[in-house]
Amino acid sequence: MKTLTRRDFLKICGIGAAGTAATLALTSCGEKEEAASDGKKTIVVGLNNDVATLGPFDLAQMGAFCIQPMFYMGLFQRDQFASDTLLPQIGKEYKLSDDGLTITVEMFDYVKDSAGNTIDADDVIFTWNYKKESGQYESVMKYIDSVTKLGDYTVEFKINELKLGIYADILSGFIVDSTWEEALYQTEPVSTGPYVVTQFAPSSSITFTKNEDWWQTDEKYIHPEQVANADVIEVKIIVESAQIPIALESGDIDMCTGLTFANARDYFMNDDGSAVDGYNVYTWSSHLIRNIAFNLSDESILKDNIALRQAICYAINNEELVQGVLQGAGTTLCTYGTSVYGDYNSAWETEDYYDYDVEKAKAKLAEAGYAAGEVTLTMISQTNDTFKKAMEMMKQYLSVVGINLEIIQYDAALYATYKLDFSQWDLLLDNQANSTAMTSIWNSFLRNTYATWKDVGVSVNGDNNEELTAMINEVNTPAGHTPENINKCHYYIKDNVLIYGLWAEQSYAVSNTSIADVYINTKLYVTPGPCVLAD
């Protein structure tokens, strides 16, 4: 057998290299360029939140909140953020019993998903049984006693307690066909909405194509979230924040969401705040409440020391934080809530909310029993540039009054673990939001049912406060959701300095001029389908 010589080897390497290069070039050239327009109205959208799965019941993906309304539908959906008015989707109308504990839903009798399955009462029951058996939806399921089929297209929900927003919580859940296969839906969803997913690369790109055979043809019943203006929507997931404005500027995308004010201003805004030529800038108030939670678990030095908590609040200059961290694109808060919620009381804005006062902060620190420099606290947050800047500024503010602050940021996974470990932190820089009401946020985070710490139910700040829990329970019922009760809770939280609202931000989206207006959905995210295209 002929031995391979060194020269042969070098030749083989050369040929191999050339061959590989040629193959790569050919295979790449064979790939398609971006979808040709072929007369279809196509938009390309950049999304800065990851979408790893397209399952209907994946809870913690902010990116999914933007796109889900294009291909999943519930029985009903709110008409707008935090509203009580529900508009038809798969359900045509619903009736409440006199006591409000029975909901009878009549569905449209011509609903079909993109696989051709008819969606009827059996599918509603299947969906609810699936969610119940999974055990992961207890926060809603615990209010439902039964779901019963009354006819092919009629179902009845029996609930055991009236809670604020309970009808929307129950009726807006997505409905899937009883042939649902969990794994398949994660990447190849069967759609009940106006678009179908024609391509999905998890965490990279999704292509939606308008479903020309969509079941809902009666315009008066089309929810604003389900308006389909574009024929094809390509969504590119751009998790690298520096790439988002670049992708828009280079023409790779037509619209992007989730921009910071600094990016929007630096790339797409004139000095007077107007959009530069060739672009449209959209802004709206975010529902996220940025706040500091005080550790009130039994071991914490903040637990029985209101004066120390007050000293911290007085030491922080909220106005300057908004300027320094957000370049002014935000508003300071006067409660644990923001003005986007319907139950917010604008009268609170004129009252003192521990407004910045160094002398008062020093006096409160002395009242708390500490000399300057004697107390050191640990503040944690999730890794985030905005929070990082804010934490650094707060460290300076607190040092002025004599409180030492150690700041630590954790990635999302670690943060989710450590925020429930009350031995890890004294102050938690956090954000919360909700689509129902401000009091619903109090309900989720300030009652003693939020977490368990040392076998006791506690709130987000490790507190087992029965009095506050009872007050929040009451204010979160339709009958108890009165201005008086809301005020009572607000002042209790404020006077006892349980949690301190810092600021709310503006959200930004930017498009080129192929898009004339964006649609902000009922969760305050941009949904591309109903965005208005320029002529």
Partner: protein
């Protein structure tokens, strides 16, 4: 030689099993609860506990490790992603071509550009145009972070000149910026490696002899000197391919390329253990194979090594 290859392939088994045990143990002890991440911060303790039980996360370490090893190595099943519920092996197979394509183009660029630069620098040593200039650029290239170069290239070629797309996959053009920014450090490293290897060789007696025979400089350099300087260069290529496979996650994230790196990053962020474990095992196998091919390549370049392998004295 066949015996040697077989021996090396068998050695890969304990190496990959060791890597699997190590990555499983690290992930087990790293704080962060996948169930909590999947359900979000407003989920109740009960909801999280139910999901943890469903996912088997409440089982003891030794049980989970045993199950993982049996599934991976006896059933050849890398499991399913917690997030997408899709088989990890299937997803890796979908994504690995993008990563391999990126790495291969990067390596090709490193070799095609880096090696001639290094050879030229050695032959023209101490000249500004041939040696000091390119070596200065190589020094900058080695020192420059790839993500920073990537963003600069994007701003220049995608935003200002509009010649190339800023991100995504599709046509050949989409691969140019990721490959260049990913391989720039490799080009620089190859140039420096080739230069020093060539400098060793061209001072040898047999090169003087070749010149004395009246051979042209081109023949002396490319026929007599270069092949003998290739061993450290091949070593460098092997390591560079490994580094590119492992380091592709930065480039893939910046350019939105759905490859293994991006998959692994999302797995790490979501504490999606099967994804991270699967990717690490696949990378370990690929890296082991690359190292084996590197060692085999030595034997073709250096007959003395081949003789050692043949006698069974090789590693």
């Amino acid at each position: 030689m066949g015996k040697y290859i077989l021996k090396r392939l068998l050695w890969m088994i304990p190496v990959v099993v060791g890597v699997a045990i190590l990555i499983f143990t690290i992930l087990y002890f790293v704080p962060g609860d996948p169930a909590r991440i999947m359900l979000g911060s407003s989920a109740t303790e009960d909801e999280v506990n139910v999901l943890r039980h469903t996912m088997g996360l409440d089982r003891p370490y030794i049980y989970r490790l045993g199950k993982f090893l049996v599934d991976t190595f006896l059933r050849i099943d890398l499991g399913s992603s917690y997030m997408t519920k899709l088989p990890v092996a299937e997803t890796i197979l979908d994504r690995v071509p993008n990563t391999l394509k990126l790495s291969s183009i990067g390596i090709l660029l490193s070799v095609i550009v880096g090696v001639p630069l290094g050879v030229n620098a050695a032959v023209n040593r101490n000249t500004v145009a041939g040696d000091r200039g390119p070596m200065f650029i190589a020094m900058v290239g080695v020192s420059m972070p790839s993500f920073w170069l990537a963003l600069l290239l994007v701003v220049l070629f995608a935003v200002k000149l509009k010649w190339l797309p800023a991100m995504g996959v599709g046509s050949f053009k989409h691969w140019i910026l990721p490959a260049v920014s990913g391989s720039f450090g490799g080009i620089a490293a190859q140039a420096r490696q080739s230069r020093s290897a060539m400098l060793e060789v061209i001072r040898s007696d047999y090169i003087t002899t070749a010149r004395a025979k009246g051979l042209s400089e081109r023949v002396v350099i490319y026929k007599h000197a270069l092949p003998n300087a290739l061993i450290p260069v091949i070593t460098g290529i092997g390591h560079a391919l490994g580094n590119m496979l492992g380091g592709s996650l930065i480039i893939e994230t910046i350019f939105g390329i759905p490859g293994m790196g991006m998959y692994m990053i999302s797995g790490v962020n979501n504490r999606d253990y099967p994804v991270v474990q699967g990717c690490v095992i696949v990378l370990a196998v690929i890296f082991s194979i690359v190292m084996l091919l590197t060692d085999i390549a030595y034997s073709f370049v250096d007959p003395t090594i081949k003789a050692q392998y043949a006698k069974g004295k090789g590693r």
